[in-house]
Symmetry: C2
Subunit: 628 residues, 2 copies
């Protein structure tokens, strides 16, 4: 059963696609007092949900915020990451789902202040709340998903392997990636273009020194089997003569300050303006700009910096230069020194800036801080609405960093700027079910870690998990050690693992399509499939993938294997040096040896396997063998 409770929302977020009448029934489960929703959890209650967030699959014991945050340090103490996914699924004495459709900061205290209390606190009482009850955990998710609309389905090539790096600057850099993977026989479908392909970081431009014949290059790479996937950042450089800026400025398509002047923020291109994606006209205008790249043959994009990330605003920076002078020439004690130091560090993504610019939504003018979480979502929607027109015959690959529920209809997301930490393999695994609940099916992490130094063993283990994630991209930041699958000498182990991904695509893509069509989860905690098994309920480092596959990756350095739990008899499938074997394993707990380079997973029935292929285009879906 789906019930809607409405508390004076100020605008339609667009998260929900079904018109549900507001119920007269009293709000179940929660008490509501002084703007705080409170629910007393039973001792055994698991709390699932919250999509892209830190900590385990069971969210109990921490406090989270729905607040799209550009924060690259994904440590346990963070309350929010790039997405705001306000859906919870409680399974204890009560079983229900609840969605707080609220466009800005909302706090979820899941037993942090009081271990048995769940409190949800929107800043203002302007929201819709949906309560979903009845049936299994899967049923509740299906009902919620039917409320928020069908998930984005990418083209098949988006299930291939992608290589990305901030630091590939020229055509030659990109060509070298293609050459190296071809030479090593490592399948590859996509090579990503990070901010350096642009002219001075200006959206919808190409640096012609680095790519003298971009259109030709795109075509040549495509003929070799590689799709080039450029980045689009949210903000538009303020530069007279740059047509995107000139048009946006003239037409009033940028967010403005309290006086109606374009609000100017510093991001990659320096001083820039923020397209007002909440304004339908501005949104349509920005989306149409992708044509520059689709005309050049581009068939996939990633949208970035759309929380929106603000390094600083013009006004705040100028105030900082003034403030810092107040400290000069004085004898600073430690605390004064810290506050001097913070004059500049506190400029980024500041609440004060978010309170200083405005949007023109159909419902009226809104200060950004009241609609913050919609920004990345609406950018994704802007792009996909246009791409459907620009490339009407084929799906376009699109994913985003920031998101809100609703964005899942227009594109995927990646889980942002993580680190080359072993703990981030597990973190990525644990984020998947929560994201799937909220409709984000096309998702994955930066394999190998975006920031920090990747090691050969970390990459092998990370890949061994990530071959099961729909979005499978190796990505890293400038200044770090190279971490391509070809970067660590002996490439055979990498080839075997990535080849396995391609062999599994008939199953994985098939299960993905089923999940998208039927409003189901591609990744599920074991407890969703084995509701009556108390042991399954506690497993936080294994996942069901589609109908008949279970993964249990190794995510610990120097481990030669791991403990696993089988909720029923299954087949253990092992890929070792390219050879795939299968053996039955009985229900229960086992230790499984998984030498570095092997991949081990489990099946509940026959799995189709394609022949090895160098890319998705050459996969033969008609020639399948079966294992398991």
């Amino acid at each position: 059963m789906l019930q809607k409770y409405s508390y004076s929302p100020k605008l339609r977020t667009g998260a929900v696609v079904r018109d549900i009448p507001v119920t007269d029934a009293p709000l179940p489960y929660f008490s509501l007092e002084d703007g705080v929703f409170s629910y007393r959890m039973s001792d055994d209650a698991c709390v699932y949900g919250l999509g892209e967030s830190v900590r385990g699959i069971n969210k109990r014991g921490w406090i989270y915020e729905g607040w799209c945050s550009d924060d690259p340090f994904h440590t346990e103490d963070k309350r929010s990451l790039y997405g705001a996914h306000n859906f919870l699924l409680i399974d204890g004495a009560d079983r229900f789902g609840v969605f707080f459709d609220y466009p800005t900061r909302i706090t979820f205290d899941v037993g942090y202040s009081d271990p048995s209390l769940l409190t949800v606190t929107p800043g203002k009482m302007n929201l819709d709340v949906y309560i979903i009850t009845g049936g299994s955990l899967k049923d509740i998710v299906r009902e919620f998903r039917s409320l928020i609309g069908k998930s984005y389905i990418p083209p098949l090539f988006a299930f291939g392997y992608g290589q990305s790096r901030w630091g590939y600057v020229t055509e030659q850099d990109i060509t070298a990636v293609a050459d190296n993977h071809e030479k090593a026989g490592i399948p590859l479908d996509m090579i990503y273009l990070d901010i350096d392909y642009m002219d001075s970081f200006k959206d919808f431009t190409v640096n012609r020194e680095r790519y003298p014949d971009f259109e030709g290059f795109v075509k040549r790479m495509r003929s070799r089997g590689f799709h080039l996937i450029p980045i689009i950042d949210a903000a538009v450089k303020r530069e007279e003569g740059y047509s995107v800026y000139d048009e946006g400025h003239e037409k009033g398509f940028f967010c403005t300050d309290e006086n109606g002047e374009d609000y100017v923020v510093g991001v990659w291109p320096g001083m820039s303006c923020l397209p007002d994606f909440l304004d339908p006209e501005a949104s349509a205008w920005f989306g149409e700009k992708y044509r520059v790249l689709t005309d050049a043959g581009i068939d996939g994009f990633w949208n970035d910096m759309n929380e929106p990330a603000l390094f600083y605003s013009e006004k705040a920076l100028s105030a900082a230069f003034h403030d810092i002078k107040g400290y000069e020439g004085k004898t600073l004690d430690a605390l004064s020194y810290f506050s001097a130091r913070d004059v500049f560090t506190r400029l980024s993504n500041s609440q004060k800036d978010y309170e200083s610019f405005f949007h023109n939504a159909p419902e009226g003018r809104f200060v950004h801080s009241d609609v913050h979480n919609l920004y990345g979502y609406k950018m994704t929607e802007s792009a996909m609405n246009a791409l459907k027109k620009l490339r009407p015959d084929e799906p376009t690959l699109l994913f985003s960093r920031a998101s809100y529920i609703g964005a899942h209809r227009s594109g995927g997301i990646w889980t942002g700027d993580n680190h080359s930490w072993w703990s981030h393999i597990l973190q990525s695994l644990q984020q998947m079910p929560g994201l799937n609940m909220c409709g984000f099916l096309y998702t994955g992490s930066d394999i190998g870690g975006f920031n920090g130094a990747c090691t050969r063993d970390l990459l092998l283990r990370w890949l061994s998990f990530a071959i099961f994630t729909p979005l499978m991209r190796n990505h890293c930041a400038i200044g770090n050690r190279s971490q391509e699958a070809t970067a660590f000498g002996d490439t055979e182990a990498f080839r075997h693992i990535i080849e396995l991904r391609y062999r599994l695509i008939p199953y994985l893509y098939g299960e993905f399509l089923k999940a998208a069509e039927n409003d189901e989860m591609y990744f599920r905690p074991l407890s969703f499939d084995y509701e009556d098994d108390p042991a399954a309920r506690e497993i936080a480092d294994q996942l069901m993938v589609g109908d008949r596959l279970m993964i249990a990756p190794v995510y610990t350095q120097n481990a030669g294997g791991r403990n696993i739990y089988l909720p029923e008899d299954m087949n253990l499938i092992r890929m070792s040096a390219g050879e795939i074997t299968c053996e039955p394993v009985s229900q229960g707990r086992h230790y499984v040896s998984v030498p570095l380079g092997d991949v081990v997973f489990f099946s509940k029935g026959k799995l189709p396997l394609a022949d090895p292929a160098k890319n998705t285009a050459s996969l033969d879906f008609d020639r399948l063998t079966y294992i398991g």
Copy 2:
């Protein structure tokens, strides 16, 4: 066998206490080329050691530095923490220990650049290298420990529970801690005084507004069973009229710049000078200052900020105010903005500062950067040398943040400013064996985490591990949520766990004394006791504690238990709501249920248990029961 290789050391670090003749034999295992020691590791080789560092018990797969670092973010990517512990123990095709006695930055690439290569790179070829071979892993450790001298043994009360917080300001704050623990019946021996007990952060002063009768307060608290343990920071406030500064300045006991002027750095008290602990006269002078507090009845100290931590130097700060002006009024692109922002953030602990001041060691004048790792060690030595005279009849509790091998003879260490992260329970466990190898037996982590927000379950689980660490202190930083054992409502579970610690002290303290006397490890990886068991070799989250106890703590949020491995038949000992039970468990792998609040560990033989006691003084060592 112990062999010494000497490469023109410029000074005696004091790490080694035995005079070993330099051998004529060629250096085994390592090739030495261009100042880089290289060893080819066998595929199966485990690399133990490196004391206080990140990552697992087996150090393979990362690059570490011996470099005392004030860095509170103990994430996987860090190369160094507060201590420099340059001992490695390799167990593979070869088995040997190696100690690089080198007083400043040295790099250990343990299969990071090349998975099978260990390279060690001191900055300059001025060091001694000791190679230890023959016998078991334990034998090699024993031989190494006999080289570096006996470990510090604290007084019995130091095995009690301690409560600390930066943020207890007044006598009333301290009294409240005592009252709350007494009221809840939670045993407690020590309450720590962080920087706020001092007058303006000046060493060896007491803020008389906050502690009008400090001596009387110390005495009253002692009569209630509580020892007060004040902090001493390394740097001395530059303030004329403050006798410690005046004396140090007049006598030339501070580190100086290239012109012989006192080098001035900003730390807690603001502008401060650094006592030159490498100068024996200065060291003796500083140590004698502890008298102010021992005369007041104090019998324990912690030395802090002795890497030394530098927030900024007077010179660098003034240059920063100049540099920042170069950015003002310009249109900053992103990279220029980042570099403007870093003008202030890069001031702390800068290499440039470390290269700008000097020590007067017996061997001559040294720039700090050439002897950096000795600073905290020599501060600890300064204190303990004096304390032995000031309090000749009883041992004094002393531990430090920064350390180098050698410091283990004078005091313990704690593992610094960690976070309220679940991963830091495991990190702490994994650091213990490496620290023990290097002689640091009296050690432990900030229970509950120093930075960040602790939760009730985190504290319960952390305590359930930390009852086995010799140093058992709950410590947290100002501005965080309270995390005393009395801070989360229902205190019974906390009381039971901490009471268990006290009941185990006869065993734990006894094993500690044995380890100290016999140059053994109190905490050992399982592989040290079960060398022929390949499964034991891989266990990275269990430890042997003393002769007949094994721990396997839960370190995952929302886990109801964990997988464990028993290398032989043992007894499972469970404390549940204060009741202790025992059951035999057979060799092999098991899943053990450990509800929150229970403590589970394993014994190989009878363990003595004392009756519950409210502090160490009331423990009855003659009245023991036996379990297991």
